[in-house]
Amino acid sequence: MAKFVIRRVFWTIPVILLVILMTFGMMKAIKGNPFRNTERNIPAAIQHNLNREFHLDKPWYIQYAYYVKGVFTWNLGPSMLQRNQTVNDIVSETFPVSAELGGLAMLFAVIIGIPLGIIAALRQNSAFDYGAMAFSNIGFAVPSFLTSTLFLYFFALKWGNFTGFPTFGWSGFHSKVLPAIALGLAPMTYFARLVRGTMLETLQQDYIRTAKAKGLRWRRVVGLHVLRNSLIPAVTAAAPLLGYLVTGSFVIERIFAIPGIGQYYVTSVSSRDYSVTMGITVLLSILIIVANLLVDILYGFLDPRTRDLRT
C-alpha cells in the first residue's frame, strides 16, 4: 500500500509539468494583451513597463521557467489584472469558499442520490422507481443556470420571508442551502442512475442468488454484498466530479454572488491574466490527481481483488 502511494505521488510531478507546459502553450497561442481591458490602446512606453514588470519581455523559455519555479515553490506570482493581489491571495481567499460549496453539493448528491438509486433498484418498476428516474432525468437535463434562477426567484425572493434564504451572498448557513442544492442536483441524479444501474446488475449475479438461497437475511445481503460492489462505479465517478465541484461552478457562483474561485476559471482566460490562469489550472490538476489517488485507495477496501493486483 505504501509503495503504491509513493509511486503515485512520484508520478504526479511529470503530470504537473505536462499541465504547466500545455497551459503555457495554449495561453501563448490565443494571444491578446493582458493589460488592455478597454478600447484604449496602451502607449508604447507603458506597455514596455508592464511587460518588464511581469517578465513578458523575456524569451518564452525564461517565462516558462518562472512558472515552473512558481508552481513548485507555490509562489504563483502577481495577478496581472488585480495589481494588489497575488495569485496565492486569490486562491487562498476564494478556494475555501468553492471547496465548501463543492463539499456541500457533493454531500447533498451522495446523501440523496445514492439512497435514491438503491431504493429505486430494490423496488424496480414500482411507482417509486419510475418517479425517481423521471426526477433524475429532469434534474440532469435542466441546466444549472435555470435551476439556480428558479430557486432564487421562488425560495429567496417570493417566499423569502418564510424560508429565510437570502437573495445573494455566502454568509451564514441559510445562504449555503440553495447554491449547494443547485450545484449538487446534477451529480445527485447522476449517482442515482449509476447506483441503480449497477445494483440491478449486481442483484442478478449468481452469488447473490446463492446468498439468498442460503437463507441470509436480505438486509445483510444488500448491505454487505450488493452495496459494496454497486458503489464502485459511483466512487470512480466521484473522483473527477469532486475536483470539478470543488473548484467551483462558474454559473452557480455568479448567480448566487458567491465569492468563489469558479469565476476565475473563465475570467482569467478572457482577461489573459496568465499567472492566475496558470495557478488555478495547476490547482485543479493537483486536486484531480489527489482525488484519483484517494479513490484508488478506496478501491482497495471496496474490491480486494484490485489490492492484490496492485502489489
Partner: protein, 538 residues
C-alpha cells in the same frame, strides 16, 4: 403567571422596536451593489470605473466637478484654489485635509504620489494622464534596467515649494488641465503606508485615506464596507453612516436583491429584457455617460468617401437607440458627444440623418451618395466583439446597408483577440468595425485626438495631415473661442458633409441605475464615477 409572561413579551417587543427605530435614526446604512470586484484601490494602478468610484469616495479628489452638464471645477476638493498662467498651473491646497491617521495632507504627498505613478517601476496604466506635464513622458519611458532614471525623475515639472502649494509645468497651455485633475489617477496616496505594506497597502487594515468615507472592510469578491469618516473636514455634511457594497456580477441577481429590499441602489447593470418594465418605475434613473459608440471604416478597403458617407447616412440611429439600446441613448451625428465643453458650437457641421430608415429622406440621402461612389465595395466584413448588444446592432445595420445593395458579413471575435485584430493597423479583411470611446476628461481634445495619423486608437488607416495640424494647433491654443473654432473645423473634416467620414458615429452613451424612492443624493457623474457623499435616506 400568563399575564406576567404576556407583559414581559410585550415589553420586549416594544423595547426592541424602540431600539430599532432609535438605532435607525442614529445610524443610517445604505446598501449599494456594484458589478465587479475592484481590480485595485490604488489611485496609481486603478484603470476601471468600479475602482475609481470607491477611490473617489474614500479619498478627497484634488478637484471636484460640479453636478451640472458644464462640469465646472469647484473649490471644494483638496485644491481650494488654483492659478493658471500660460503653461504653469499652481494649486493651493486646503489646510484642513487630514489622513485617517491624523497627519495633514500636504503638497509633498501630492508630488510624491504623482512621481510614483509616473515612475516606470510602478508600470501604471494611467501614467499617460500625466504626459501633459513637462518631463513626465520621458521619465515614464525610461528603462530602469538599462539606465539611471533618477535624473529624469528630477526633471519632471512638478514641485512643492511649500507645504500647501503644488506647481505644475505643462508642455503647453492646457486650460482643461484643472478639469483633468478630477481624474482618480491624480488622487494623492499616503506613501509611508505603501512603503510599509507594499502591495497589501490597500487592504482595509492597512489603507490610509483622507476622504468622507473610510474603507472599513474589503472581503475580496464578496463585498466592501465604507463607514463615515468622523474626522473628515466636512463630516457634518455626510448623512449616511455606513455603506455596504456587495459585489453582484449578475444583473438578474442584483435586481432580485433590489426587489427584495436588500439593496437601496443597484448599479450592477440590467438585462435588456428587464429594461422596458424598469423604465416605468420612479426608481429608474438615467444619466449621461460622456462617450460615443461608433463604427469605424477601414479606409484602405472602403476607399471611396462617397460610399462611406452613404453607409454612415443609411444607419437608422433612431431605431437602434429605441429598440436595442433602450436606455435613452442619444443618436449621434458627430464624434464629439453632447456634454463636452462647447459641443453645440463644435458640432455645427452635423448633417448625418438620425432616422436613416424611418423617414424616406435619410435613405434617399444615403442612396444619392452611393450613386456618386465610383467603385463601391458591395461586400463588407463587419467585425464586432462578442456581446449580445453589439451583435444586434450589427444585424440592424446589416439590414440598413442591404437597402443600398451592400451585403455584410458579420464576424464576431472574442474581446482581446478583437483588439489585437484591430491593431492599428487593422487586419486587411476589416471593412468596418465597432468600438466606443469614453471620456477621460470633458475636453474635446480627448475625443478628436483619436483620429490623428499616429494615434494608437485610430484603427481606420485614415491619415489626414490637415486634420493633424488642426488638432496640434488646438492643443496649443489656450483661448477657448479660438480652440473651439479649430475643433469645429476638425469635426467637420471628420463627420461633416465635406469631410472624409472615416467613422460613422451611432450614439452617445448613457448609464442607468435603480435607487429606492426614499433615498436621495446618489450622483453618477458623466465620467463614470459614482459619488456617495450626498446620499441621504428619508
Amino acid at each position: 403567571m400568563w399575564v406576567g409572561l404576556a407583559l414581559a413579551l410585550a415589553l420586549t417587543i416594544a423595547g426592541s422596536a424602540f431600539a430599532a427605530s432609535h438605532a435607525s435614526s442614529k445610524s443610517t446604512t445604505v446598501t449599494i451593489s456594484i458589478g465587479a470586484e475592484p481590480p485595485s484601490l490604488d489611485p496609481g494602478l486603478a484603470t476601471d470605473t468600479t475602482s475609481a468610484t470607491i477611490i473617489a469616495n474614500i479619498n478627497d479628489p484634488i478637484i471636484r466637478l460640479s453636478q451640472t452638464p458644464a462640469l465646472t471645477p469647484l473649490h471644494t476638493g483638496l485644491a481650494q484654489n488654483w492659478k493658471v498662467k500660460g503653461s504653469t498651473v499652481t494649486l493651493y491646497l486646503r489646510h484642513n485635509d487630514h489622513w485617517t491617521n491624523g497627519k495633514p495632507v500636504t503638497a509633498q504627498d501630492v508630488v510624491g504620489s504623482w512621481l510614483r505613478t509616473i515612475s516606470p517601476e510602478l508600470a501604471a496604466d494611467y501614467a499617460y494622464q500625466f504626459y501633459g506635464i513637462v518631463g513626465a513622458q520621458a521619465y515614464n519611458s525610461c528603462d530602469p534596467s538599462k539606465a539611471d532614471c533618477n535624473a529624469l525623475r528630477a526633471k519632471v515639472g512638478i514641485s512643492a515649494p511649500n507645504k500647501w502649494t503644488v506647481v505644475i509645468h505643462l508642455v503647453s497651455p492646457q486650460p482643461w488641465f484643472i478639469q483633468q485633475l478630477s481624474h482618480t489617477s491624480f488622487i494623492p496616496t499616503y506613501l509611508p503606508a505603501i512603503a510599509k505594506y507594499g502591495n497589501k497597502w490597500t487592504e482595509a487594515a492597512n489603507i490610509v485615506t483622507d476622504g468622507p468615507f473610510k474603507l472599513a472592510s474589503w472581503k475580496h469578491n464578496a463585498s466592501l464596507t465604507l463607514v463615515k469618516n468622523p474626522k473628515w473636514r466636512n463630516a457634518s455634511s455626510i448623512h449616511v453612516n455606513r455603506i455596504n457594497i456587495p459585489i453582484i456580477v449578475d444583473a438578474g441577481t442584483a435586481l432580485n436583491a433590489y426587489k427584495a429590499g436588500k439593496l437601496q441602489i443597484d448599479t450592477s447593470g440590467f438585462n435588456p429584457t428587464d429594461i422596458p418594465s424598469l423604465k416605468k418605475l420612479p426608481d429608474w434613473h438615467v444619466f449621461p455617460n460622456l462617450g460615443t459608440y461608433y463604427y469605424g471604416f477601414n479606409v484602405k478597403t472602403i476607399t471611396d468617401v462617397n460610399e462611406r458617407k452613404a453607409l454612415a447616412a443609411a444607419i437608422d440611429r433612431h431605431a437602434i437607440v429605441k429598440y436595442i439600446g433602450q436606455l435613452g441613448q442619444i443618436p449621434a451625428q458627430t464624434f464629439t458627444p453632447q456634454g463636452i465643453a462647447n459641443w453645440q458650437l463644435i458640432n455645427k457641421s452635423k448633417w448625418l440623418p438620425i432616422n436613416g430608415d424611418d423617414t424616406a429622406s435619410g435613405l434617399a440621402i444615403a442612396k444619392s451618395y452611393m450613386a456618386k461612389a465610383k467603385n463601391p465595395v458591395m461586400n463588407i466584413n463587419l467585425y464586432v466583439n462578442n456581446s449580445a448588444g453589439h451583435v444586434q446592432i450589427a444585424q440592424a445595420i446589416q439590414a440598413n446597408w442591404q437597402k443600398l445593395g451592400v451585403s455584410v458579413n458579420i464576424k464576431v471575435l472574442e474581446w482581446k483577440q478583437y483588439l489585437q485584430f484591430l491593431g492599428p493597423p487593422p487586419d486587411s479583411s476589416v471593412g468596418a468595425y465597432r468600438l466606443g470611446w469614453l471620456a477621460d476628461y470633458p475636453e474635446d481634445y480627448d475625443f478628436l485626438s483619436l483620429w490623428t495619423c499616429k494615434s494608437g486608437n485610430n484603427n481606420t488607416n485614415w491619415c489626414n495631415p490637415q486634420y493633424d495640424s488642426l488638432i496640434n494647433q488646438a492643443v496649443h491654443t489656450p483661448n477657448t473661442e479660438a480652440r473651439v473654432s479649430l475643433y469645429q473645423k476638425a469635426e467637420a473634416l471628420l463627420t461633416g458633409k465635406n469631410g472624409d467620414m472615416p467613422i460613422a458615429p451611432i450614439y452617445f452613451y448613457v448609464g442607468a441605475y435603480l435607487e429606492k424612492t426614499n433615498v436621495k443624493g446618489f450622483y453618477a457623474n458623466p465620467l463614470g464615477t459614482d459619488f456617495f457623499d450626498g446620499i441621504s435616506v428619508s
